[in-house]
Symmetry: C3
Subunit: 138 residues, 3 copies
């Protein structure tokens, strides 16, 4: 079994934004040469997360963000006394920074409507990073 490591670097330009990183993750899997295994993705940043959702209708990302904002609204948290982004931290804690996607035939084995999204709950940020570790057989 081999290990391949990579990073996906992103810039966000909105206060709250979901960016589809499936294509870049797929490119790393191809570069790794791994045919069968897993691709572990990990979002850096305590106000960022990863999620897997449909991208055919871009409104799903809008829905996910507005749902989280409704459930966990800004402006009412103890951490807001420090830097005003308490809701972003809580959303990141609940959605979570990790996804582990199977690799088959040298590609991410997602279903038709599944895409991997980076979620920035406290943008815009010039640099955001997803750490990628691919484990498997060539």
């Amino acid at each position: 079994m081999t290990i391949f490591t990579g990073e996906i670097e992103l810039t966000t330009d909105q206060p709250r934004q979901m960016i589809d990183i499936t294509g870049r993750a797929r490119a790393l899997v191809r570069e790794s040469g791994v045919q069968t295994g897993v691709c572990s993705l990990f979002a850096h940043g305590a106000t960022a997360a990863l999620t897997i959702q449909e991208n055919a209708d871009p409104n799903i990302s809008v829905d996910v963000l507005s749902c989280l904002d409704g459930l966990i609204p800004a402006g009412k948290w103890l951490h807001d006394r420090i830097d005003g982004n308490g809701a972003s931290h809580i959303q990141a804690a609940i959605v979570g920074p990790t996804e582990v996607v199977p690799i088959r035939d040298g590609d991410l084995h997602l279903s038709t409507w599944q895409n991997v999204f980076f979620c920035d709950f406290d943008g815009p940020r010039r640099i955001r990073r997803v750490i990628v570790t691919i484990l498997g057989d060539p």
Copy 2:
């Protein structure tokens, strides 16, 4: 280290349903021969997810589904203009499609009350799939 791959195929018969797949995951671990490692499970479908919960009281599944329905109700999302299942997508995005369970002594190393559940938030579906990748030492 070896890699073993498998799939768990399911049929759901309710609009919203949690199905315990622990026994089938355990059977794949036994088949793999792996004694020490991890079992990565990944639900296909952008309206499906995996979760780990108790199955001794079947009402916990009812509670989880009714809680999610209360927090993320159907019928108020932009995606509903396309096919009416916006809430199912958001619930899947938040619960998430992946679990990684440790393997010890050739078995899933869950605690007494932990079981792995497939969640269908948009059933019934004739075929749902969980992709299983087992990494470890025999």
Copy 3:
């Protein structure tokens, strides 16, 4: 590639509590000798979970717990007829028991403000356990 296994044993002394286990996870990574790979952490207990959040401001843990309590309040679930902790089970199901953190240069590759927390939603408990599996190259 090698596999290293370990456990983190905890005692909680509050009904609801988040405990930073980053230092103990880092110690296991050092003990493993793995330089590049992943560290899979898995919380035992159907009323426990893992999350990754900031620890510089201890109020973030308070915010996460109070947010979950507001969204998923105690006392209104079918499982409460059995043992009164239905909300704890649902919170654990949604936050989830697993995290997979990358290892680089022999250490957990977290970002500056990320720490790994064990969440006890139904404490206090004399013994809680996190199962650790480290996969990687020395």
